[in-house]
């Protein structure tokens, strides 16, 4: 379990994190999304005890990471850009991790070793970004972590390996009940793997919600009428947007979709169905509701 309370971090005059609080229950996958410079990597570095926070605390399984670094023997960490000792080979790194992490599992390592095709003896300085990420995943999944913290874990991987890695993460949670915290730009990846999603922008968590609840809160109803959409329905306060294509209307709305469906049925629609929205669409409307333009944030 991860618990972050009122975390702040300043670099000189600039405030990078501003009162970040969140909680991830055991066995859940938390996805943190945000643009470059939003504070994702800084947050993760503080969670891992590398950076000291200006204020606030980070608890992993009830222990303060900065006070009790031993708790990190239960934590796997894959950085955005993995730095290992340039003169070390894969075998050296394996030896280092094996001696460091008490839960290191040889069977799991052998199993993963077959997936990741890495040269045993080539030194790390000759590794590409993709190979670095693969090595990091290999090492950190082999240590059987209770908590896995990942910063852009699939960057530098080809599409096949990317899919494999995401599968591994889901498998890890299912098999070991691992708590996963993943920061990424890629909303599609989050949609496939996460239970809970947080949005960080300018060092603040804008929202932090269960993915299913989020999907329930913003719904899209597709409806067609012979004489067009009754205007009073389009003006309801819970309607976020109405799109029209011929006689078919797409109504994006916030919560209360059951009530809206009942209202629509009263007007004898030719077509009436609820459509699942993509995470990206949900974000666009969710951010709009908070007074932010999602597209502006994500493309910064």
């Amino acid at each position: 379990m991860i618990e972050i309370t009122d975390l702040t971090k300043t670099f000189g005059a600039s405030q990078v994190l501003d009162g970040v609080s969140l909680e991830v229950q055991r066995g859940r996958v938390y996805g943190l999304v945000g643009p470059n410079g939003a504070g994702k990597t800084t947050l993760i570095k503080i969670m891992m005890g590398f950076l000291l926070p200006t204020g606030g605390r980070v608890f992993i399984d009830g222990q303060d990471v900065h006070q009790h670094p031993r708790i990190k023997s239960q934590v796997g960490y894959v950085a955005d850009y993995q730095n290992y000792y340039p003169g070390f080979s894969v075998n050296d790194m394996v030896r280092f991790y094996r001696g460091t992490f008490e839960n290191w599992n040889e069977e799991r390592f052998a199993e993963l070793r077959r997936v990741f095709d890495l040269p045993d003896k080539r030194t790390f300085k000759n590794f590409s970004k993709g190979m670095r990420t693969q090595l990091a995943l290999l090492l950190n999944l082999s240590l059987m972590p209770n908590v896995l913290i990942l910063d852009e874990p699939t960057s530098g991987l080809d599409p096949v390996l990317r899919r494999q890695v995401l599968g591994m993460l889901v498998d890890e949670v299912a098999r070991n009940g691992t708590t996963v915290f993943v920061a990424t730009h890629n909303l599609n990846e989050l949609e496939r793997t996460c239970d809970q999603i947080g949005m960080i922008h300018q060092g603040r968590i804008l929202f932090d919600e269960n993915l299913e609840d989020m999907k329930q809160k913003v719904r899209k109803i597709q409806v067609a009428f012979a004489d067009g959409l009754p205007p009073e329905l389009a003006k309801r306060p819970d309607v976020l947007k109405v799109e029209q294509q011929g006689r078919v209307y797409g109504i994006v709305m916030r919560e209360n979709s059951a009530e809206m469906l009942a209202e629509l049925k009263k007007h004898d629609p030719l077509l009436l169905e609820t459509i699942d929205m993509s995470l990206e669409d949900i974000f666009i409307y969710r951010m709009g509701g908070l007074g932010y333009e999602f597209t502006d944030i994500i493309t910064q």
Partner: protein, 338 residues
């Protein structure tokens, strides 16, 4: 908080050795064999001279023995400074502090194992060196070697104690800021600062024809005494005091320096992989120090035997200090930009 333990972690120690084994091996071999090899060649030369019927001058033999040569002490100091600066700076240069501190190791443990390895190399290298030289001594009973085995061990012990301080001091400087090169340069400057600054004061006193023998001597003596590496460059410095007392003080200072390094490292925010200078609020103080020292150095050199008027001299000092203040400021700005 985890209770601190003095027992080393094998994996962390292995990592330290593996990461810098080329440099450490070279340093170890050099320290171990530089003087014993010289002794061996001298003994061979002595023997062959005797066999040829020559009377080999013993005093020359004594002078040539490496452990009486002052430049060797300076070189050992430089090597140990480089070793400590590389141990810490390399983690920054490689960006691997992030990796280490994301593991279940405390900052205290990370620094402790570097300290342990550094001290280990110094102690073992000088220990082996003394052992080899003692063996050579005992292996040549007929040769009138101008020192005793006890002298060899006393020399080794002096080097161990002094270099342990040099190592701890460089670790302290390195925990605060900078790359390997920066750490090394800064450590050398501060290690030789007392003798340097007293030398500058004496040179400037002479420029203004303040001839007071006692003041000059005392200043230089204090400067030398505060310059710990000078103890292995000129053994007379330390030998004019009770050795047990001097060694006890040195060991205590070394432990204190190491504890201070631990304390500061634990509080280093580690931004940019630890490159942020702690106490950046004191930057003006360092710049002032550089400006004053360079003014004290440049004015006596530039105005040597020119019969300077005091009023003009003050202007010279201010101008030289001002120029160096600006130069250091520009250098810092350029470095940050880079």
């Amino acid at each position: 908080m985890n209770s601190p333990t003095l027992l080393p972690n094998k994996t962390l120690l292995w990592k330290e050795c593996r990461n810098g084994w080329v440099f450490f091996s070279l340093l170890f071999v050099y320290i171990t064999f530089v003087s014993s090899y010289t002794m061996l060649t001298e003994l061979s030369r002595y023997k062959s001279a005797l066999a040829d019927g020559w009377i080999y001058p013993i005093m020359v033999t004594g002078d040539l023995l490496a452990f009486h040569r002052p430049e060797l002490g300076l070189f050992f100091t430089l090597l140990v400074v480089v070793m400590a600066a590389v141990m810490i700076g390399q983690e920054r240069d490689q960006g691997t502090f992030g990796l280490l501190l994301a593991m279940p190791y405390s900052r205290r443990e990370v620094l402790y194992h570097k300290f342990l390895l550094g001290l280990g190399i110094i102690v073992v290298a000088f220990g082996v060196n003394a052992l080899v030289m003692s063996g050579l001594y005992w292996g040549h009973p007929g040769v009138p070697i101008p020192f005793e085995v006890a002298d060899i061990w006393a020399w080794a012990l002096r080097n161990m104690v002094v270099l342990a301080f040099v190592f701890a001091f460089t670790v302290l400087i390195s925990t605060l800021s900078g790359t390997s090169v920066g750490n090394g340069i800064l450590s050398m400057i501060f290690l030789f600062f007392p003798i340097g600054v007293t030398g500058l004061i004496v040179a400037n006193l002479e420029l203004w024809q303040v001839h007071h023998y006692e003041i000059t001597e005392n200043l230089l003596h204090i400067g030398t005494l505060l310059t710990v590496p000078s103890y292995i460059i000129d053994r007379n410095i330390i030998h004019s005091y009770p050795l047990a007392y001097m060694y006890t003080v040195l060991i205590l200072i070394t432990l204190g320096t190491y504890q201070l390094a631990q304390y500061l490292f634990a509080r280093n925010p580690m931004e940019h992989n630890g490159e942020v200078l702690m106490f950046s609020g004191f930057e003006w103080f360092f710049k002032l120090g550089v400006a004053v020292c360079f003014a004290l150095l440049v004015v006596p050199i530039g105005t040597y035997r020119s019969g300077l008027e005091p009023a003009v001299g003050v202007i010279y000092y201010l101008v030289a200090g001002g120029i160096f203040w600006v130069l250091v400021t520009l250098l810092i700005k350029w470095r940050r930009k880079a």
